[in-house]
């Protein structure tokens, strides 16, 4: 550790030398890494919007349970309590006939006059059950099995589509993150190996003088991390501008969608990109310097 602190200045200087030794190649590596990380940033931004949308839709996921003939309000309220205890149920509420009619009038809006054609209220009382999408099957089976429940309307196809969309987005995002991670690791480790090859005489001399691998490799790790972080900075800067200028249009096109605020989106994506670039740079560089050990 003492040796490390004594040599911080040397390590920084050597890292700078490594970067400057092959400036054009390193510049292209920074641009390449920046482009890949930009792609990751786009996916992250899409993921953030999608995540917010799905969260909203998930909180709206609900099923309706209708009663057997002869179930009175007291029985219904008991059922509400039972249903609230089922795993995957967020909330359950008893909707009486009048409330059911009022809801329909709200939905129909200007067309609600049509309900005046009925002599009596045509709507039945029911239970409005908000559920967790992931537990849909279990909730449906449990509610259907309750005494006093005649049938359950589940909007299954819509809910399943929502669930599928959510899972698909997650898988796509993970695949992109995996691809970006591997590509960045390859670029950085290749760049480090190139640096090691360019400095092989120096490395060989240091070995003969007794320098440990950690001492020899640290400037290369530092150079690789700095270059990857420069790529991350490039990607974060471009995304920052893009989100600042273009994100408002998304809200304009889709005003009914509950998307995150510009500030939240910009800060989150840029910070993640910088952190990911630091981690990938470090990992890629460490992988690259293993070639020093292999040549021992």
């Amino acid at each position: 550790m003492k040796t490390f602190f004594y040599n911080i200045g040397y390590f920084l200087l050597e890292a700078k030398r490594t970067i400057r030794f092959n400036p054009l190649s390193n510049l292209f590596s920074v641009i390449g890494t920046g482009l890949i990380l930009f792609l990751l940033g786009m996916v992250l931004a899409g993921w953030t919007v999608g995540d917010r949308l799905i969260q909203t839709l998930q909180s709206e996921a609900e099923i309706s349970a209708y009663f057997d003939d002869g179930t009175n309000q007291q029985d219904a309220l008991l059922l509400v309590e039972k249903i609230k205890g089922i795993k995957g149920v967020k909330n359950a509420a008893y909707i009486n006939q009048n409330e059911a009619k009022a809801q329909m009038e709200d939905m129909l809006g200007n067309e609600s006059d049509i309900l005046g054609l009925f002599d009596e209220n045509p709507f039945e009382a029911y239970l409005d059950i908000r559920i967790n999408l992931d537990d849909m099957d279990q909730v449906l089976s449990n509610v259907r099995g309750l005494a006093g429940i005649d049938y359950v309307r589940d909007n299954r196809s819509v809910l399943e589509q929502m669930k599928g969309m959510m899972d698909g987005l997650k898988v796509l995002g993970l695949l992109v993150i995996l691809a970006v991670g591997i590509t960045t690791l390859i670029i950085i480790s290749h760049m480090i190996r190139q640096g090691i090859y360019n400095n092989k005489n120096q490395i060989n001399t240091l070995r003969l003088l007794g320098a440990p691998n950690g001492f020899i490799g640290f400037p290369f790790v530092l150079a690789g991390t700095v270059l990857t972080m420069l790529g991350g900075l490039l990607a974060a800067g471009t995304l920052y501008l893009l989100i600042s200028k273009g994100y408002g249009y998304l809200g304009g096109f889709l005003p009914f969608l509950p998307i995150p605020s510009i500030g939240e989106m910009r800060d989150k994506v840029c910070l993640i990109l910088l952190a990911v670039s630091a981690v990938l740079g470090l990992a890629g560089s460490l992988f690259g310097v293993t070639s020093i050990k292999n040549e021992d």
């Binding site: 040796t3 004594y6 040397y10 001399t205 240091l206 003969l208 003088l209 007794g210």
Partner: protein, 222 residues
Amino acid sequence: MIEAKGVTLVYHDGTVALRNVELTIKPGELVYITGHSGSGKTSLLKLLIGMEYPTQGSLTVLGQSMKKGKNRKIRKLRKRIGPVFQEFKLIERRTALENVMMGMRFLGISPRKMKEWSISALTKVGLEHKINSKVEKLSWGEAQRVAIARAVARKPELIIADEPTGNLDYSNAVNILRILNSFRDQNTAVVITTHATHLIENQEDATYIDVNQGEVVIRKKG
């Protein structure tokens, strides 16, 4: 300090570089190893610094047994040796001072002391005026002296110099040998290979070893 018992070195292509070497070198000893080009002098030095390993026999340097597969221990041992390579192995695009300091950076010496010892070593070899010169701008003799300064600045227990007089004129060669001798003390042994026998004869306290086609013969013990 150095003990070789029945050491034989055979290269991968089957060339026998050294045969059945028996050798003991004590702390503070000055040893000249002489022989023609290709006789096995450099192979012997390579064994001492762990660039090659004995095919047969046993070799101990500063208490460390020199065997394949002990890389970490041999790397540690090298910190106690000051090598002067035939082709110098100076690091390009660095100054003379940076090169000398480079040999000490991983020894846990403070930067102030490193600089002080490096300047002192460069002064001893007569290069105080070239401290900040890039090594590629130095003459052959000057580069040679930077390599010596790098080897001695870190106060090693063993200095090994491979053909330090090669390609030098008579006065420069004598000067280099004089400088190397000056770093020998009670605890530091100096081992020098050379084919220029006329430069090293008649030194009372020196040990002379002849190497001929891999055979090592101690001609005179100092």
